[in-house]
Symmetry: C2
Subunit: 198 residues, 2 copies
């Protein structure tokens, strides 16, 4: 049946109308990124007194700043800089925690180009200082999130550097990593894995 | 005696001529800030494998970014945000280290307005997680740099909050803090104090 507005225009249910929603809400449809979920998890850990972990600000090279009278300084020209460390760090029971989080839409492997040489170098320094260091890898099409300890990542990085494959297969991530439980609070409970593994 | 160039112009020794320098080079004349010295110290610790400590990037609120063809993204409008944590963190022998560094030109006291409520709150959370947390206070006119443990800072912060004095007297810093040795490498050897105190 065609429904018309008083002006004669045909009414059409919008594609985001609630009646159109079928089946369970999938991760990709929630409009939440891995980063948002990690932020929420970190805020949960913080407010529960479990751990203090923050994402570092994006490094920016400032070129030009204006100082208008009676108002805040305005940055007029600036550029994104490549991070020399990882994105997240903090403290859990006195121990230093350091990690990077990345997602892929690949089904069978995780591309190593998601990481930079400096980041790997930073992670090696952290491991030498006995910090808890890892990467969080998300296979978004499966809604699976893994914690892969840094020493395992180094193995695959070195394999790439030696001219072999440029990714970690999903089977390798499943074998060497730990599937992180997901829930409402915290969304991505990586501290649970740290308790078990470290 | 007046010296003249061949063209008749009078020669005058420039004010930054080496012959004008008298006495020992003072800290304030080196053109180095406390932040520069801490950066150098952190790089020394990093390259010697002693500790991994970095300054966090300045947090910035980006409003407008242009994406020119065939060149890097340009930030055209952005503002400085107030930091919600401290400036420096990292790892030393597996332990989490977290600190803020400030300098004053005052001779008799260190004003507490150098710190923000969020930073104090962050430091309290770090202390609860058993992290190594402190502030580095520089009295620049004396070229003295102190490490003051966070629990001591909280005492003076709470005194301010209760309506009493808004600063820590220099005597109090001398009594509750630790004078940090300064040298060529590292410039500000705060790790030495950590070894003793923590």
């Amino acid at each position: 049946m065609t429904i018309r507005y008083p002006n004669g225009k045909v009414f059409q249910a919008s594609s985001n109308s609630p009646s159109k929603k079928t089946g369970p809400t999938l991760y990709g449809n929630r409009g939440m990124s891995l980063e948002d979920d990690l932020h929420d998890s970190n805020m949960y850990y913080l407010h529960q007194g479990i751990a203090v972990v923050h994402k570092k600000p994006t490094p920016i090279q400032i070129v030009d700043v204006h100082y208008p009278k009676r108002s805040a300084a305005v940055i007029k020209e600036a550029y994104f800089k490549q991070a020399s460390t990882t994105d997240f760090n903090g403290v859990y029971k006195g121990r230093y925690i350091d990690f990077e989080a990345k997602e892929t839409k690949n089904k069978t492997s995780f591309p190593l180009q998601n990481f930079h040489e400096h980041q790997i170098q930073h992670m090696r320094q952290v491991v030498k200082q006995n910090g808890i260091c890892f990467v969080i890898l998300m296979f978004s099409l499966f809604n699976e999130v893994y914690l892969l300890p840094a020493d395992k990542l180094f193995h695959y990085w070195d394999r790439k550097e030696s001219g072999e494959r440029k990714s970690i297969t999903k089977q390798e991530v499943e074998r060497d990593g730990y599937l992180i439980p997901q829930g409402y609070q915290p969304r991505i409970d990586y501290i649970k894995i740290i308790d078990t593994y470290y």
